[in-house]
């Protein structure tokens, strides 16, 4: 009897907390516009999308969100976390959207909502310049390859490794920047990351790194990430619309050219990702 009324009380309290929380979170677009700032979560170790360039936060994310901010009429406030802490913090309401960007995958789409793609994410291998033992992706069989922890690049590398005659010795890093440092130091034979990222790194450090072409695995794309619930729908719709406008009037291609040296053909939406 006591247990039952206690349970009732607890359920009631839970509903009350839930009600105040959802009342608080209702219509995030209105809340963002009222506050005048869009909070964006990211990690600052994913060049050329997001990195610290001699102390200044720079990259495609920064430029693209500046344009999104203009479209929505709000300022952008950045919150930088380690990558494996970004999604828990998004769900805890620490920011409204995640810049990342993240590869659009089936598993992530079950839980999160993606914006239209902003770049291609198909992965390739970065090796040390002059390393003749790796000339095509298959050559990484049996070698030690670095990759970021909690990334889709890790999943893609694992899948690729399973198709090889001898498994790849996969080493996971908190951030890709640390795997590049280990590659330069000769502790690993290569790094598996999306082509735009490693092409940028190889260009920055010509003579140290080289990209192994072609990219392997299935074609995939990068998008920004938000929450799926009804409260976040108006905000995500507005960001989607802003991005499509930025893409349509050529600003996106201009920024891709600036950061990757090339533009990408990307679909307006990814409904059925390859992974």
């Amino acid at each position: 009897m006591i247990a039952r009324s206690l349970l009732k009380g607890l359920v009631g309290a839970a509903f009350l907390v839930g009600a105040t929380l959802s009342a608080h979170a209702a219509d995030t677009l209105a809340a963002v516009k009222e506050a005048g700032t869009l909070k964006v979560g990211t990690e600052t170790a994913f060049a050329p999308f997001d990195f610290i360039d001699a102390g200044d936060h720079a990259g495609l994310n920064v430029d693209l969100f500046a344009e999104i901010g203009k479209e929505l009429g709000v300022k952008i406030e950045w919150v930088a976390l380690p990558w494996d802490g970004v999604f828990p913090a998004l769900e805890a309401g620490k920011f409204d959207v995640v810049a990342g960007p993240a590869t659009i995958t089936k598993k992530r789409m079950e839980r999160y909502r993606f914006t239209p793609p902003i770049a291609e994410a198909t992965i390739a291998i970065l090796k040390k310049a002059g390393d003749t033992t790796i000339s095509k992706p298959d050559d990484i069989a049996g070698k030690t390859i670095g990759v970021g922890k909690a990334t889709s690049q890790l999943d893609q590398l694992k899948e690729f490794s399973a198709t090889l005659p001898s498994k790849v010795d996969i080493r996971e890093y908190p951030a890709f920047t640390e795997s590049y440092a280990d590659l330069a130091a000769g502790r690993i034979a290569g790094v598996a990351n999306s082509l735009p990222n490693i092409a940028f790194v190889a260009k920055q450090r010509e003579g140290t790194f080289e990209v192994v072409l072609p990219p392997f695995g299935k074609k995939s794309y990068f998008g920004f990430i938000g929450l799926k619930d009804a409260d976040h729908a108006p905000l995500m719709d507005a960001i989607d619309a802003a991005l499509l406008k930025i893409k349509a009037d050529g600003r996106m291609a201009e920024l891709q050219k600036k950061w990757f040296g090339a533009t990408f053909e990307t679909p307006d939406a990814v409904k059925d990702p390859a992974f």
Partner: protein, 213 residues
């Protein structure tokens, strides 16, 4: 390594110092209450204080920070990164400082307290003039120790999004590919700050009233 990079590290170390100093002071205030509760000999005070201390000493600071940052919003308290960092460090250091203080108060010679009672001092006077100064004198080296530990532990707060010295060093090492120089510089800055803390601690300790012989 250029001057610009060193300046950025110095700038980030302001956050390290700020967060640590604020946390140590808040932690000190909380620790006074906690040690009072521990010494009260009443279960209603002692037990909650013991639970608090066993939690904040028993759970890794990294986990505490993630809990504070990601769990508080579930009860409607969405604190910014820097506040979450200060709450985490303060509560953690409070638990350690409270145990130090309890030890300090327990080490005040009983004879001194009895003599004070004999000459007619009130309990309040005994606390202010006998117990507190002696306990402070006894625990001061441990307090300086704790301050240095917290300064170094503040490198963990980057997990909740505060860009302090260590995080800045990681970011710069990642974008400049000069890890050796940058981490060496960061290490030297930590060393310099902690040397200053130890020096100030030594000076203050010497100015405290001496122990009776």
């Amino acid at each position: 390594m250029s001057i610009k990079l060193f300046e950025l590290l110095l700038y980030a170390s302001i956050y390290t110092v700020l967060i640590s100093v604020v946390s140590i002071l808040i932690g000190f205030a909380i620790a006074i209450f906690l040690s009072g509760m521990l010494l009260s000999r009443k279960a209603i005070f002692v037990v909650p204080a013991q639970i608090f201390i066993s939690f904040f000493r028993g759970v890794p600071l990294l986990v505490q920070l993630l809990l504070i940052y990601n769990m508080l919003p579930a009860i409607g308290l969405n604190v910014p990164s820097i506040v979450a960092a200060i709450i985490g460090l303060s509560l953690c250091t409070a638990a350690y400082q409270a145990e130090n203080m309890r030890g300090g108060f327990a080490s005040v010679p009983v004879g001194l307290v009895e003599s004070a009672e004999m000459v007619g001092l009130t309990p309040g006077q005994i606390f202010r003039r006998i117990k507190a100064p002696i306990a402070l004198r006894l625990t001061f080296p441990a307090l300086v120790n704790e301050a240095i530990l917290i300064l170094k532990a503040s490198s963990l707060v980057s997990v909740v999004g505060v860009v302090e010295l260590t995080r800045m060093a990681q970011d710069l090492a990642g974008s400049t590919f000069l890890p050796l120089q940058i981490f060496a510089a960061a290490g030297l800055i930590y060393l310099a700050i902690n040397w200053l803390v130890a020096l100030a601690g030594g000076l203050i300790e010497r100015s405290l009233p001496g122990l009776p012989r």
